[in-house]
Amino acid sequence: MQFTQQMINGITIGAFYSLVALGYTMVYGVLKLINFAHGDLFMWGAYLGLTGLNILLILLTQLSGWAILPVVVIVMITVALVGVLVERVAYRPLRTAGRLAPVISALGVAFILESLARNIYGASWKTYPNGLTPSGGFTLPGGGRVSTMQVVVVVVSFLLMGALYLFVQRTRIGTAMRAVSLNHDVSRLMGIDVNRIIAIVFLIGPGLGGVAGMIVALYYGSFDFTLGWVFGLKAFIAAILGGIGNIPGAMIGGMLLGIIEAQAAGNISPQWKDVIAYVILILILIFRPTGLLGERVAEKL
């Protein structure tokens, strides 16, 4: 009973982690950069969604669940554009500057985004308008309750991830992305516009992150500005767990982390679940830095 219920919760949270982890993993793939700002872009998705829904609420005085759709699209586009802007301003000038400078720059962007959110929206918890998400649910035969919202969330996440996977595997741009993640110079020799591909990665990753932010906010109902850091770090752990740079790895890592965390919260102690996530990260990095699915041998220098 407890186990199944935590399993259901774990899969739901895991779906969120996977969506956000994709952003980390795609950027790491093409730039070998830990994009610390990704978590905060994701959080901005939640805040922009809130603003969008509130504007609609003023305009229409009443909202149905369908109001979410146009808002999601706008949030996705806005966050994606911010992502591209961040890459242009903070990462592109550092393309040749070694590995540490971009990481510090990314941390800097994360702090700017978080501070903006806190100063614009205030430090208090924000709540989404009521009645937008489907209520109800059903009970599984083995015990354990699944809410309709959980089903929607998981299905939407899987659809997005599936679409991304097909995009990367089947389209020309996707092929170019995979080429860039292997080697910039050779890709350029093959006629790939590397800067354009990186810009596209920074459209897709943050775009997905923005949507994930809104879904998370809808699912939990409320959030504050620490969402970006807490959730972002977890999603990053998920990306490492699956093997950073590896797209299916990010999905599996996210699911696994969600389930482990939910089981730990339910069966060990909710207070220590974050610690368990960090310990997993530390152990993975010490013993298998390439993650579960990573094939790349860890470079030592």
């Binding site: 903070a90 550092l94 500057a97 510090i104 800097g108 702090f111 700017i112 501070s115 610690v275 990095l285």
Partner: protein
């Protein structure tokens, strides 16, 4: 930038004895005309300078990216507080214990992760820092008092006199700050210091030259962490109340920024960094509200425009801006 570079060159040429005398005189006289508030600001500046200098050993000299330094600061503070609360040991006597505990944890934490490369090391240290903070928040072993932390700690006393006014704490801090500067300078030019920089520049070559890189890196972590523990103990003495906020990620980032922005591996750079990251936000209210953004903007701008920091050590500057080598060596 050239005029700035010229100023820097001129500053570097000032005979170091004048520097030393000037620094000591200024730091002794500076708080005298100020009120308690500004004296406390100066005290905070000094504490962060000590933390910056300690992190400079790890990040600056050895090139190991430690983003969880605040954990050791907190460990030092909690060690002092617990020894004082449970055993009634006078605060100044708990100081060595704080150093030892922080250094020991520095050893425990860094031992398994030394082989990791730059950005991976960064992540692991963040995770360790968070684990320490959460352990403190979760009231581990019922010792740490949870999210509220510990209170009612004695003030440090000297010659039977409890130190209360900020000015006493300032001078107490100053003694340790001056000791720290002397030690760090000696370390920088020692055999170990040169080994650290060799490891930073090229680990493989260092190893080929017979440097035991593991030992050298471990020593950097142990010494740096222990020193942060000292700062933590001083903090406990002044505030008499401590909370897990000491080990917040933000604190680690502030320390990291102090080192990177001032100029990695440079002692004057640490002071420049502390002024920018700690003193200015303390003095200006609007900067305090936007402190995270200020941190962030400086990080991005510095990385893009001047990755070697504002007052870099000559060695790092040469390494980053190789083409200027001639201009620098002719001075």
């Amino acid at each position: 930038m050239t005029s700035f570079e010229g100023l820097l060159t001129r500053l570097r040429k000032v005979d170091s004895l004048y520097w030393q005398i000037g620094f000591v005189l200024v730091t002794i006289l500076l708080p005298l005309p100020l009120g308690d508030y500004h004296r406390t600001v100066l005290w905070r500046t000094g504490i962060y300078a000590i933390l910056g200098l300690s992190l400079n050993i790890i990040v600056g000299y050895s090139g190991l990216f430690q983003l969880g330094h605040a954990a050791f600061y907190a460990l030092g503070a909690y060690t002092s507080a617990l020894l004082n609360l449970h055993f009634g040991i006078p605060l100044l006597l708990t100081l060595p214990a704080s150093v030892i505990v922080a250094a020991f944890f520095g050893y425990l934490v860094s031992r398994p992760i030394l082989h990791l490369r730059g950005d991976y090391l960064c992540i692991v240290t963040i995770a360790f820092g968070e684990v320490v903070r959460l352990a403190l928040v979760n009231n581990i072993f019922g010792l740490t008092g949870g999210a509220n932390g510990l209170s009612g700690i004695d003030r440090p006393s000297l010659f039977g006199q409890a130190l209360r006014a900020p000015i006493y704490h300032y001078y107490l801090m100053l003694i340790f700050l001056l000791i720290t500067i002397v030690c760090v300078r000696r370390l920088e030019n020692s055999r170990l210091g040169r080994a650290w920089m060799y490891v930073r520049e090229d680990e493989t070559a260092a190893e080929a030259m017979g440097i035991d890189t593991t030992r050298v890196k471990l020593l950097a972590f142990i010494i740096g962490s222990g020193w942060a523990g000292l700062a933590g103990s001083l903090y406990t003495g002044k505030l008499t109340v401590i909370s897990p906020d000491l080990s917040k990620f933000l604190e680690s980032v502030i320390m990291f920024c102090i080192v990177v922005l001032g100029g990695t591996g440079s002692i004057p750079g640490v002071f420049v960094g502390t002024l920018g990251m700690v003193t200015l936000p303390e003095l200006s209210r609007s900067l305090r509200d936007w402190r995270d953004a200020w941190l962030g903007i400086t990080m991005v701008v510095m990385m893009v425009a001047r990755p070697e920091g504002l007052w870099p050590s000559r060695r790092v500057q040469l390494e980053i801006r190789g083409e200027r080598e001639e201009a620098l060596s002719s001075t």
